[in-house]
């Protein structure tokens, strides 16, 4: 058993668990996108960031890939985490503004503006389809091509792969290809239609003092603070 501290609570993790596994076990919500229980952790979407360590050595890591370590101090919703997470959502929005999943994330985490030039690529390169194809369907028909800003997902040599059995596993698991609902603001970069939460709590509390039990999860206080 590994003992750690998470948002001020003492938690116990089993050998081989990640921070995300532990948080899930204790019911602490961490948003994820490129994570799936049936696939190996990848750490591409950077949504599941948490802050580990204390003081000047504190840093952000992706909880889906970081193993639970004895004595680790984890905070899942500090201001630093929320800010980074919001930037990640904003970056995702800028490439896939028509995805329902991402629009919902934006609403949930209070991303209300999108300051980058829109590039309708729809794919956020989370790699779920690649791992699904390789690990669950035993296909390995698709993979990543190039690197950096030219990275894309395709079949080898961009031709129809003989390995592909048209099983549809990649489409099933894709978080980005479900179209956003055609609400009142269907044309804008950020929908935010479901962001109906009124500010419920205007003071910023730390950790256990927050009545929601983990400061900043609902995002209201951080939003108001800004």
């Amino acid at each position: 058993m590994i003992t750690m501290k998470m948002n001020g609570l003492e938690v116990r993790a089993e050998e081989g668990w990640t921070i995300l596994d532990t948080a899930k076990f204790y019911g602490l919500e961490i948003p994820t996108l490129c994570h799936h229980e049936g696939l190996t952790p990848y750490g591409a979407c950077r949504l599941c960031l948490v802050e580990i360590g204390e003081g000047p050595k504190a840093k952000l890591v992706s909880s889906c890939t970081y193993p639970a370590e004895e004595g680790l101090v984890v905070h899942t919703d500090t201001k630093r985490v929320i800010q980074a997470r919001r930037m990640m959502i904003e970056l995702m929005l800028s490439v896939a503004p028509f995805s329902k999943t991402i629009q919902d994330l934006a609403s949930k985490y209070g991303v209300t503006s999108m300051r980058f030039k829109i590039r309708n690529e729809e794919c956020i390169l989370c790699g779920l389809c690649v791992r699904m194809c390789a690990e669950q369907m035993d296909g390995k028909a698709i993979g990543f091509q190039n690197r950096g800003y030219q990275r894309k997902i395709s079949t080898p040599f961009d031709i129809r792969s003989e390995e592909c059995r048209l099983c549809g596993g990649c489409i099933y698991i894709c978080p980005a290809c479900q179209l956003r609902c055609q609400g009142p603001q269907a044309e804008t970069a950020v929908c935010n239609a479901c962001l109906t939460m009124d500010p419920t709590c205007l003071d910023y509390y730390d950790e256990l003092q927050c009545w929601m039990y983990d400061a900043g999860r609902c995002g209201t206080c951080v939003r108001e603070k800004k």
């Binding site: 952790p41 990848y42 750490g43 591409a44 979407c45 950077r46 960031l49 840093k59 952000l60 890591v61 992706s62 890939t65 970081y66 193993p67 370590e69 630093r80 800010q83 980074a84 930037m87 990640m88 970056l91 995702m92 800028s94 490439v95 300051r115 980058f116 030039k117 956020i124 390169l125 790699g127 990543f144 190039n146 690197r147 950096g148 800003y149 030219q150 990275r151």
Partner: protein
């Protein structure tokens, strides 16, 4: 090349080293050392060597003169250069035509050829010996210094400077734990940039459970403008290998890899040759010197990805997978190559090891500052008089490197900034010139030590342009796994590009800062975590320049193409037609001896005319169209 018989025992090796050390003392009277690394070859050293061989033969001096072809000596500005021992006469910038004179006058008669000596650009005095040149005077060349004395293709040459004595010492006198304690005590820190204590890394790898362990030499040097690892691998490959052999003894590794970029063909050739020779003489392989120690060394060639310098990506690359970093922990010292404990060190780190074992930890710890020990090689490039590799003790100031060693900025221009640490580093302004260089001080100033690139910029450099250059490099070299790094560098580049094109808006700088901090925070590996440094440091020290681009649509240095136009100043133009000839689009009109004119609709703003003009008659002025646009549409 003389064949060496297989060395079977420790005593045989000792005897061989002693023989070779003696033979060095009995070398012919004159030794001509030619610097012929990649940089030397590019400047024509091969032709000089050819000519030297011919001239020696023609003069019948074969018995009296030895020609030694070595790796880079560091002074790139003076390539191709030769040193004639025992006097140490240093001739620079040679052409094959000079060779005859050298052989006839210096070698045969002992006279010095004045015109081939190094001339100080400031004082005009000539320096006879290497040690008289200011470039070398403040350096402490413990790693690079031996490049002058060894032929990198000859194992015997390496023996003759006492090579492999450190390995013998480690093998016979020291226990693995002693070696690790020595390295720990020396205070050596990783030369790849992050500065992790080497001894601690070794200890962690040694104490990781498992029988199979690996050592890896990281020679994937990808920073623009940095080439110290190449120079060490080219000039003294045996030193690096000896360091790795000592490391393998200490860690308990039986296998090692040298990961070197395939873009370094000479380094690949020399390392491959060195490994082959060591196998032939029995210093690599099974049962080395009859002690039962096994160490196999392989060479892995990088396919040209900057990110493969990151250790987990490098491991993936050796394993044959895509070079993408993964989450640490588990660190390579626990789970590295093929899932086994692995110790990865930089070329320069490995090259320091034989010295530490030979001279002791205290000797090494006496060089440098409190927390950063030893020396560091920097590649001093850019707008600097003495381009080259400089090896300096830690704690030296930037001013000493740039002005005393580097000889200042050419053409009397003013110093503006120095970029350290490559694309992961930052630009430091003139106000920080007196900063002592060590790992902590550079990090504190918003840059990093990095692998040791040092790019000097003068007043005609635009910091927005520099930031854009590095971001363009990073967006291309990011592996693209982390959203924060892939999109972060791309979006930062877009914003900076807009700023440089005069399309910047109020609020851009704040967004840029916010994005930079998020990229730094959210990325998995070192590339993403430091990708924001060029932007953040530029904003920290040169914010006014960014603001001038955004609010005034003006590029103060006259570099950003969209914001300038080139004009001929009639009073200064002599009508020499130099610019006219240089212009690739025939945009310059004018007759001889009459002031010329640049046709703006044809001008592509390449700046060729500016460089061609000898009279400073061409100037980059503010683009009028943009000023008008701004006034009409505020």
């Amino acid at each position: 090349m003389k064949r060496i018989k297989k060395i079977k025992t420790i005593d045989e090796l000792k005897k061989l080293i002693e023989e070779q050390e003696l033979s060095r003392k009995q070398e012919p009277k004159k030794v001509i050392t030619v610097s012929s690394g990649t940089c030397g070859q590019a400047r024509g050293s091969l032709k000089v060597i050819e000519a030297l061989k011919k001239a020696i033969k023609a003069e019948g001096l074969e018995e009296k003169v030895k020609l030694r072809i070595t790796g880079c000596h560091g002074f790139c500005e003076a390539e191709p250069n030769i040193i004639i021992y025992p006097d140490g006469i240093f001739y620079q910038k040679l052409t094959p035509a000079d060779v005859r004179t050298i052989i006839k006058e210096t070698v045969a008669e002992g006279k010095i050829v004045e015109k081939l000596l190094y001339k100080d650009p400031q004082t005009g005095t000539r320096a006879v010996k290497e040690s008289d040149i200011p470039f070398y005077q403040k350096q402490k060349r413990i790693v690079l210094g031996d490049n002058v004395f060894v032929d990198p293709t000859s194992l015997l040459d390496y023996f003759s400077i006492g090579g492999f004595r450190s390995f013998l010492k480690a093998l016979t006198e020291l226990k693995p734990d002693d070696i690790i304690q020595t390295v720990k005590k020396s205070g050596l820190r990783g030369r790849g940039g992050a500065g992790f204590p080497t001894g601690v890394k070794w200890e962690a790898t040694r104490h990781s459970p498992g029988d199979i362990k690996y050592v890896i030499c990281n020679g994937d040097e990808g920073d623009p403008g940095a080439y110290m690892d190449r120079s060490v691998l080219e000039g003294n490959p045996y030193r690096v290998i000896e360091g790795m052999m000592i490391g393998a003894l200490a860690i308990g590794a039986k296998d090692g890899y040298i990961y070197v970029r395939d873009e370094y063909p000479l380094a690949v050739r020399h390392v491959t040759l060195a490994i082959d020779q060591l196998y032939k003489v029995g210093l690599l392989g099974k049962d080395i010197l009859g002690t039962g120690v096994t160490f196999d060394l392989h060479i892995a060639k990088g396919a040209g990805a900057f990110v493969c310098g990151e250790e987990t990506a490098l491991i993936a690359s050796i394993e044959g997978r895509v070079g993408e970093p993964r989450q640490r922990p588990p660190f390579p010292s626990v789970k590295g190559l093929w899932g086994k404990p692995t110790c990865i060190n930089n070329v320069e780190t490995w090259a320091n090891i034989p010295l530490i074992i030979k001279n002791g930890a205290d000797w090494f710890a006496s060089i440098g500052t409190d927390r950063s020990k030893g020396t560091k090689i920097f590649s001093l490039v850019g707008k600097i008089n003495n381009t080259g590799l400089v090896e300096v003790p830690m704690g030296i100031t930037l001013r000493e490197i740039i002005y005393d060693i580097g000889g200042g900025i050419p053409d009397g221009k003013a110093f503006k900034a120095v970029q350290t640490g490559g694309p992961s580093g930052g630009c430091l302004p003139a106000s920080l010139l007196d900063l002592p260089i060590d790992y902590e001080s550079l990090t504190g100033a918003g840059s990093i030590m990095g692998s040791g690139g040092m790019i000097v910029m003068d007043e005609k450099t635009c910091m927005v342009d520099v930031a854009m250059y590095f971001l363009n490099f990073l967006r291309d070299e990011s592996c693209g796994k982390c959203l924060s790094c892939r999109e972060g560098t791309q979006r930062m580049w877009e914003i900076v590009k807009d700023i440089s094109e005069g399309k910047g808006k109020p609020g851009d700088l704040e967004l840029l800062e916010e994005l930079a901090l998020a990229t730094k925070d959210a990325s998995m590996c070192g590339l993403g975590q430091t990708a924001a440094n060029p932007v953040l440091s530029a904003l920290r020290y040169f914010r006014d320049e960014f603001e001038a681009h955004i609010y005034e649509k003006r590029c103060p240095a006259g570099v950003c193409k969209s914001l300038i136009r080139y004009v001929v100043i009639p009073g200064k133009c002599t009508g020499c037609e130099a610019c006219k000839r240089a212009c690739p689009t025939q945009a310059i009109q004018g007759t001889r001896s009459q002031p010329h004119l640049i046709l703006y609709d044809k001008c592509i703003k390449c700046g060729a005319c500016l460089e061609a003009c000898h009279f400073e008659a061409i100037e980059a002025q503010r683009e009028e169209a943009i000023i008008i646009e701004k006034e009409v549409m505020p």
